[in-house]
């Protein structure tokens, strides 16, 4: 058993991280802190998940969210997709393993992966609406969010959702408020099988190694850790029985990275665009300085008068 995060003291304590620990801030530059906090991570072991949805309930409960009553369309996924209120969602896949002939029920807890290189933050135009703490948490500041939906375009995992109530973007905060006072995320706390565990990123990798060894000894020869390098690694990681085929887990991307369209839009376009506008304006000033105004001469007026004289 993995030793869970102990219950912290009930006495008031100072927050463990805050504005001084930001390593990235949307649409602004920050001076990175001299010392980075220990990176944290949540490890989701798909092989241990029993699909009870306690994590979903705990998430709604802790974050004071209410989901609408949905409609059953014959699958266990409820609601059918992530929403502005459902920040984490169990996605159920029935997988026929051709090799073993077994039917495997793959249950993946979907939600924000807290990328080391967050596409949402890169795309966000509102200063400070998305921040990344040095411990790896990517968090939304709803007071600053303008509801443009750029984060959705930036995200390689299709996670953020815009609320139809206040038109602001919502996603898993990795329970930054709980973490700040030494607790673990609500979902991890509620998980009855320790399919979700929480600790430092190094601890989680070690624990994942231990789990992968166990899975391999049981015949899952492709068991492995999902910590995709395309986004610099993530602070939510999966242990997958079939790490060679992430896509079978309800479309988990094989090798996610920020879309090149977003990179171009937020990179070269911004600078070349502003430079082009500046160049056109500068050309105007220069041309006027060199060639001068194009003025109508007295002779032009005379010519026009001569031309119209016939009609007088």
């Amino acid at each position: 058993m993995f030793t869970p995060v102990p219950n912290p003291t009930t006495n008031p304590v100072a927050a463990k991280f805050g504005q001084q620990d930001l390593i990235r801030r949307s649409a602004s530059s920050v001076t990175a802190p001299a010392k980075r906090q220990t990176e944290v991570a949540k490890l989701i072991d798909v092989s241990k998940c029993i699909g009870c949805k306690a994590c979903q309930v705990a998430c709604l409960e802790w974050n004071n969210l209410t989901e609408e009553v949905g409609v059953n369309v014959g699958v266990y996924d409820n609601p059918h997709d992530l929403t502005a209120n459902t920040w984490t969602l169990m996605r159920y896949t029935e997988y026929e393993n051709a090799e073993s002939g077994n039917l495997e029920w793959l249950i993946r807890k979907d939600g924000c992966m807290h990328c080391e290189d967050p596409g949402c933050l890169k795309a966000c135009p509102a200063p400070g609406a998305i921040v990344q703490y040095s411990n790896g948490i990517v968090d939304f500041d709803h007071d600053k969010c303008i509801g443009c939906g750029y984060c959705i375009k930036g995200c390689p995992f299709n996670i953020p959702r815009i609320s139809q109530v206040d038109q602001k973007a919502y996603k898993c905060s990795l329970c930054s408020d709980r973490l700040a006072v030494g607790q673990g995320p609500a979902c991890a706390k509620a998980c009855p099988t320790q399919a979700i565990v929480f600790g430092t990123k190094d601890e989680m990798k070690q624990w994942a190694d231990h789990r992968i060894k166990d899975l391999k000894s049981r015949g899952f020869k492709n068991a492995g850790l999902y910590d995709p390098p395309g986004v610099g690694g993530t602070h939510v990681m999966y242990v997958l029985q079939h790490a060679d085929k992430p896509q079978i887990y309800a479309g988990l991307p094989n090798n996610p990275s920020i879309s090149p369209l977003v990179e171009v839009w937020k990179g070269v376009t911004k600078y070349v665009g502003l430079a082009a506008i500046g160049a056109f304006a500068a050309f105007g000033f220069l041309h006027h300085a060199v060639a001068g105004a194009n003025r109508v001469t007295a002779e032009d007026e005379k010519n026009a008068e001569r031309l119209t004289e016939g009609r007088r």
């Binding site: 443009c148 959705i152 815009i162 879309s259 376009t269 506008i277 060639a291 109508v296 010519n303 008068e305």
Partner: protein
């Protein structure tokens, strides 16, 4: 024989100086609605385009309101520009002399207009502004709808929105550059702005810059 360069509402009043009616009141109102919309769109769009200009959201009441209002101004611009398009497109059709004019851009920039072919109501530069703006505004409204998440978010995939937002921003930049050319030309060629404020230019201005138009007006060619 070439087509008449005269538009409905154009007229010539002999005198000293000669006064020429160039734009009707309706055309001018139509133009200024388009112009104001375009400036507001550029300001609100640039605010969301780059963090350096995010402060411009202050002009619109903050980030949320900028995000809300920008697409609606876009709708106004599109409808208003449609008006301008149908008003002006006939005399903006490209002609062979326009290519000659474009080929002598050096003379144009050097204010050597006597070396250029006689121009109708619009010169080749104005026609280029007209057609490029027509194309860009069509691209902008189309890509803009794709990224108007509040109302159309469910109709497009994320990948389509990524493509649309890139096309939208690049097209907007180019449109702003064309707009700079348009405004600069109006300032550089003195006597032009009166055409859009009072609707009138002097005969000398018409003789110098749009001689074929003036001649058609005087001869009453229709």
């Amino acid at each position: 024989m070439s087509k008449s360069e005269v538009d409905a509402g154009d007229g010539v009043h002999p005198g000293k100086p000669v006064i020429v009616d160039r734009y009707t009141a309706a055309a001018r109102i139509n133009h200024w609605i388009t112009a104001i919309s375009l400036v507001l769109l550029a300001l609100s769009g640039l605010a969301l385009f780059t963090p350096y200009l995010y402060f411009l959201t202050g002009l619109f009441g903050g980030g949320q309101l900028t995000r809300i209002i920008h697409p609606w101004i876009g709708v106004v611009l599109f409808l208003s520009f449609m008006g301008l398009f149908f008003r002006f497109f006939r005399l903006n059709l490209w002609e062979r002399t326009d290519s000659v004019w474009m080929g002598r851009l050096r003379d144009v920039l050097a204010n050597e207009e006597n070396k250029l072919p006689e121009v109708g109501k619009y010169n080749a530069g104005q026609k280029m502004v007209f057609w490029s703006m027509s194309l860009f505004i069509l691209v902008l409204i189309t890509s803009g709808v794709v990224i108007w998440d509040q109302y159309f978010g469910n109709y497009f995939t994320i990948e389509q929105k990524r493509i649309a937002v890139l096309i939208h921003s690049v097209t907007a930049i180019v449109a702003i550059c064309v707009w700079i050319v348009h405004v600069y030309a109006a300032i550089w060629v003195r006597g032009t702005i009166g055409a859009m404020t009072r609707g009138k230019v002097t005969g000398g201005w018409a003789w110098r810059h749009h001689r074929r138009w003036l001649k058609d007006l005087v001869t009453g060619k229709h």
